[in-house]
Each structure stands twice: as structure tokens, then as C-alpha cells.
Amino acid sequence: MIGASKIKQYSNVLEKPLSKGKQEVSLSAFAFLFSELVQYNQTQVDNIAELERRLEDAGYAVGARCLELLCHREKCVMFMPFWLSQGNRRETRLLGILSFVHSTVWKVLFGKVADSLEKGTEHEDEYMISEKELLVNRFISIPKDMGTFNCGAFVAGIVRGVLDSAGFPAVVTAHFVPMEGQQRPRTTILIKFAEEVLRREARLG
């Protein structure tokens, strides 16, 4: 009968206990969903830049929520003494938030830490997170006429969402970097921090 349910219905989603985050779905389910996201956005735009921007916006929403989720989850480490728990501490330093993105966020979302985190050589405000093959690009091949389009813009959006919500505004883009001896190019997420972040970092010493 309709309404006969064994599950306790919470009136408010915020009252529902936070899950451990160990649930999984198959990679193909995610890949299908992501391909529909890209295909839908392709119908809504006229050019590549607009498509990348829309994917980034979608990723931004994911990133902002991801940060909140991870922070809440770390706080819920009930039985650890305060000084041992990672939670209750907000990242305020540049390297801190970068390593949070590179390790924790990547591990939670993609199952592994990012391949590398580098500081840009040309500019002070640039950092790069590199990945041999982004999860979202696994089953995607870009036709030649789409030029430098990279579906990793979605991941760039996620990173921007995390950084922005953590108080580190930045411009984040995804680029393909061809590698010697490898068929598929590497993907680099380029993070360019805003002026205010660098000034604050300098002030903090």
C-alpha cells in the first residue's frame, strides 16, 4: 500500500544522520550521468568557452557542497581526543588548503590522491594539480574540431568551489598537457589565486 514504509521518514533532511560516505556506485553509472551532463550542455551553448563555463559552474556547486560535507564529517569523529582530530580546524594557509584539495578532496571524490601538486614557475600565484587521467575524462574523447576543450572543466569547477567556499578565491582551469611517450595527454588543473589571497598569505608570514 502507498505510504507503508519501514524507513523512518525524517521531516527535515538536516536531521538525518550523516552517512560515513563509504557508499559506492558503479563507475559506468557515473560516466553515463556525466556524459548526459555534457551532452545536455552542448545543446545549450554556441561555443566551446561557454560549454566549459557551464561545466565549471556545475562543478562549482559540487565543490562547495563537498567542502561542507568533508568538514562536517571530520568534525564527527566522536571518540578521538580533540587534539588528535583533524576536524574543527579551518584551513587558513594557502599550502594547507591546496594539500587539502590535492589529498582529501581527491581521495574522497576520485578514490586516490592527485598525482602531483606543483607551484607554477612563471607566476607567484599559480599552482597546478596534475592527473594522468581524470576520472571524468576516462570515457571521453574530444573530436579535433573542438580544439582545446576539456571536460576536466567540471573538476576545475569542483576545485574552484572548494577554494572559494574556504575563502581562497581563485580562477581554476583545466588543460591538456601532452606527455612524451604517452598516447593520452595529462590533465593539469591550473589554479590562479586572487590578489587578496596572496596579500593575506604574505601578511600571515
Binding site: I2, G3, S5, K6, I7, Q9, Y10, S11, N12, V13, K16, S19, G21, Q23, E24, V25, S26, L27, S28, A29, F30, F32, L33, F34, E36, L37, Q39, Y40, N41, Q44, R54, D57, A58, G59, A61, V62, R65, C66, L69, V108, L109, F110, G111, L135
Partner: protein, 185 residues
């Protein structure tokens, strides 16, 4: 060599590559949000979600058939059972159950106890009438159409209204009403 028998949903799920369900959940949320911003009308969004699900379903069924090794189902009851037990399990990692059979055996409900799509989601008042999980209806419709079970009308997520409308937060319970009126069996 004897052909391999059909594999259980759990076994297949354990053998495929998996990703964190939260990435999946949040990506789906981003899609629905984008649709709501672009289309504004809740009915349009429902249609678009169904269409997206349909596009997924027509390709997903190939993977399903390849990985699960099921033999041809003899009747609709078996089709529903296999979709619920094997199909949902191998893609979403959660089993579903089939209930609410009608007298002729052409209509049923597939119930998901634990739907990864609706984690953390709460529908605001402006979105009443939104079938948040409509993509799942589309997937089933697409998949069934590809294997020649042709619903003459789009799958009716009418029971969504009952469950989703009653609750401002999305339930762990998800209902799909499959009305398959033309059975080639």
C-alpha cells in the same frame, strides 16, 4: 564449454570499478539544478530528466546484458525482478524490490530503499511536482525499449507525487510504476 550462468547483482557490483556515491549524488544534483535554472518549468524539467534517462538507458542495457549474463526473461514479472535485483544493484549498488503487482501482471512498483540520488536533497516549495529521480524512469524505459518491452506510454512516476510530495526531504523510498501494456511474451 557450458555457458556461464547469470551472475548475481552483488557479484557484478563487486567486480566493476566503483566511484564514491557522493560524487554521483552531487553531480546529479548539479544537473537538476542546471535544468531548473534553464527550463524553469517543473514539467519541462521532468521531461528533460526522463529524456536524459532514456538516452542513458538505451546504452546502459548493453552493458547490463554483457556483464550480467542473464538469459531472456520469459515474462514481465521476471523482467521486473531482474531489473530490480540485478540491474539496480550493479549500477547503483543498492538492491530494489518489486511490489504492488496488479491483477494482470502488467504493472508493478520497483522500490528502492536507499536511493543514492537523493542523499542530502530537500525539495523547496517552488519545486513541488518535480520528479527528482525521473532519470531512473527514463533509464528503465530506455533499457526496456531496447530489449523490446515497449511501454506504449511513458513510465508513470505518479507514486513519486505521493512520496515526494508528502515529504519536503526526499525519501529513501523511491517508487517507479512500470506500466507495460504490450508484452511480446
Amino acid at each position: 564449454m557450458a555457458p556461464a550462468g547469470p551472475r548475481s547483482g552483488d557479484a557484478i557490483f563487486a567486480s566493476v570499478e566503483r566511484v564514491n556515491a557522493e560524487l554521483f549524488t552531487l553531480t546529479y544534483g548539479a544537473i537538476v539544478r542546471q535544468l531548473l535554472t534553464d527550463l524553469e518549468e517543473v514539467d519541462e524539467v521532468n521531461k528533460q530528466l526522463d529524456q536524459m534517462g532514456y538516452n542513458i538507458g538505451i546504452r546502459l542495457v548493453d552493458e547490463f546484458l554483457a556483464k550480467s549474463n542473464v538469459s531472456r526473461c520469459v515474462d514481465f514479472k521476471e523482467t521486473a525482478e531482474v531489473s530490480a535485483k540485478v540491474g539496480f544493484k550493479m549500477f547503483l549498488g543498492v538492491g530494489a524490490s518489486v511490489t504492488n503487482w496488479d491483477a494482470e501482471g502488467t504493472c508493478c512498483s520497483i522500490v528502492l530503499e536507499d536511493n543514492p540520488l537523493v542523499d542530502f536533497v530537500e525539495l523547496p516549495d517552488t519545486c513541488q511536482g518535480l520528479y527528482y529521480c525521473n532519470v531512473l524512469s527514463g533509464v528503465i524505459r530506455g533499457a526496456l525499449e531496447m530489449v523490446s518491452v515497449c511501454p506504449p506510454m511513458p513510465l508513470s512516476p505518479s507514486l513519486f507525487i505521493v512520496f515526494l510530495g508528502l515529504l519536503t526531504s526526499l525519501p529513501c523510498l523511491f517508487d517507479v510504476y512500470i506500466c507495460s501494456l504490450e508484452l511480446p511474451f
